[in-house]
């Protein structure tokens, strides 16, 4: 048995786009303990509710994260709508669902690229991001922003997306499906990728439930929990789908879940485009927030929680956001115990850490 050494991982590390620090207690080449510490990117956005009124707050909450930005805006807006008893028109709910699925697509493609980059497969990384660019173009055309959309507001959406554009989107997505298939086959079938992912960082179903893992991390361990199914947000109840679940619980399973969700999102968008009703996309909202409300959304990274409380003034009293990465860090610490030092970047990446979300 060797001597225990502490190797710092992060806050600056090639696989980490964002700063998180993990102290890895290493014995020989094996990690025996991982001690995470966060707090490098706290911006105090929740505190801003005291200075920004509730309509402005949607734009602020949206900027918690650059990747799951739409979901944050939607969560904040619908928590406030719930507290004010505002009923959003059906077309707006459909469009929100479509935009949310588009952002899930771009988030998962970004993640696939980062994963490829982490195990040193540069060309795969570039191809993932090339396909992601198509999605970003769609988002820019429809909302005006590539990653921060600012299209969600309390009471609906700020801009309508006409049916013709929606059909175009649906066709474009159908068009990139073949390319996606080629790329994802590499993740699923290539030996060099499988050698890095299979059997690495196994999180058992019991652990996933006990450590409250959410999103693809939980689904990769056989927990079929998806807020799109269980909670009543958007129009997912009309779209009829099954969550993607893998049983193995290793990095490969988590990768397969996300690949499955990429194709699932395309199907969901196509179904939503077929079913979308005509009508207005917003309702006028008057008055101030009085009361409280809680909303849960399925973000690309898992379940996110939004809570709004108002006391009849134009400023909210409290806005609380709990993000998926926050819930997945305990699972990460668990799977890091006993792994090889060389596999650490892979495991950190497969929980899809979003530190800006976690710290807000």
């Amino acid at each position: 048995m060797g001597k225990k050494t502490i190797i710092p991982f992060g806050p600056q590390h090639p696989v980490l786009p964002e700063p998180v620090h993990i102290d890895l207690v290493v014995e020989d080449e094996t990690v025996v303990e991982a001690i995470p510490s966060i707090g490098f990117i706290h911006r105090g956005l929740e505190k801003l509710v005291e200075k920004r009124d509730y309509t402005q707050m949607v734009y602020v909450i949206e900027r918690i994260c650059g990747i799951c930005s739409f979901g944050h805006g939607w969560g904040a807006a619908s928590a406030i709508e719930g507290a004010m008893n505002v009923k959003v028109p059906e077309r707006a709910e459909y469009l929100r669902t479509i935009l949310h699925e588009l952002s899930r697509l771009h988030s998962h493609l970004l993640w696939l690229g980062l994963l490829a980059d982490a195990f040193g497969f540069e060309s795969l990384f570039m191809h993932c991001w090339r396909i992601r660019e198509t999605i970003l173009d769609i988002l820019e055309k429809t909302t005006g922003g590539r990653v921060i959309f600012s299209i969600c507001k309390v009471g609906g959406l700020r801009k309508d997306i006409d049916n013709e554009t929606l059909r175009e989107i649906s066709e474009t997505l159908e068009g990139i499906k073949a390319e996606l298939k080629d790329i994802t086959t590499v993740f699923i079938e290539d030996d060099s990728v499988k050698n890095r992912l299979c059997g690495v960082g196994v999180l058992s179903k019991e652990d996933a439930i006990e450590l409250c893992a959410v999103g693809p991390v939980a689904r990769g361990s056989g927990v079929g929990q998806d807020m799109r199914m269980t909670d009543n947000h958007g129009v997912y109840k009309d779209l009829d789908f099954e969550p993607v679940v893998e049983e193995a619980g290793d990095c490969y399973a988590r990768c397969k879940v996300r690949i499955g969700e990429v194709f699932q999102s395309i199907e969901l968008i196509k179904k939503a485009v077929d079913k979308i009703p005509d009508g207005p996309v917003d309702v006028p909202v008057k008055g101030n927030v009085e009361g409280e409300y809680m909303v849960r959304l399925e973000q690309p990274r898992g379940e996110a929680y939004y809570y709004a409380k108002g006391a009849g003034t134009k400023f909210l009293q409290r806005m609380r956001v709990r993000t998926p990465t926050n819930m997945n860090i305990p699972a990460l610490v668990k799977i890091l115990q006993g792994c090889d030092l060389a596999d650490v970047p892979m495991m950190v990446l497969t929980i899809d850490p979003c530190i800006s979300c976690t710290e807000r």
């Binding site: 402005q56 734009y59 497969f121 060309s123 173009d137 005006g144 921060i148 590499v186 079938e189 030996d191």
Partner: protein, 284 residues
Amino acid sequence: MGAFKIAKTVLKSAFKKPATLMYPVVEREWQERTRGSIDIEAEKCILCGICSKRCPADAINVDRKGGKWEIHRMQCVQCGECVEACPKKCLEMNPKYTEPGAEKVIDIVDVEVKKPAPKADKEDGKKNDDKKTDSNAVEASDDDKLVCDLDACVYCGLCAKTCPCDALEVDRKAKVWKVDDDACVKCGACVDKCPKKCLSIGAPSDTAASENKEAEQDAEPVAKSVPVVDEEKCVYCNMCANECPSEAISAEIDNWTLEEEKCVSCGACVDVCPADALTMETVK
């Protein structure tokens, strides 16, 4: 065999054009909706400061006395809230991003505050030197008040509801129309909204009145919102008819009627209805 699965994709892309652009030689195509940067038409701006109040990032400063509108380009998050809030529609979202730079840029635009009567010389606001703008602003703030022609006013309260600064107070019963001159930013939102055209900024001049009339004639029939009754809920209590400032409603038993021409869309009836039977709906 599970190796070289990417070979097909790699070979295909070897014969394709690059997916990237040669920045900065090749310019990117902007989408119509791209939120690039905020532009201002200084001639239309009245320095009301609503954009500055609405900005979630505190990127806009409005100096009424100095006649200056400034935007911190690095602070602006391009949400477009100011564009939507501007009562004069002088802000615009330019689909082009600002130039990249190493310094924090603050764009300052000189805005000439107009007097109520239309001026003959329309100089470019940007070229005015500070002194001139200053004196204009001071002059303007003296006689540039919001006034109401109380003979024409029906005290419907639409102006107070529209006011972005809560500067107006209207009490129909006591027939009171009051403006808090310190709070009023002379944005003109109420003037545009008033169904009786009895509001004006500065003393109502003949030109302004005739302009109003012309505008009325030119204007296409716009969508108007009127109260609609849900007869199952209505209890025919007559409270709406009593509240209506323009006597457009009559609510006899089992016969609720509205004279659409008289209706000023103030929504007072909806507010007062005890049975929640009325809603405002848009008609052409």
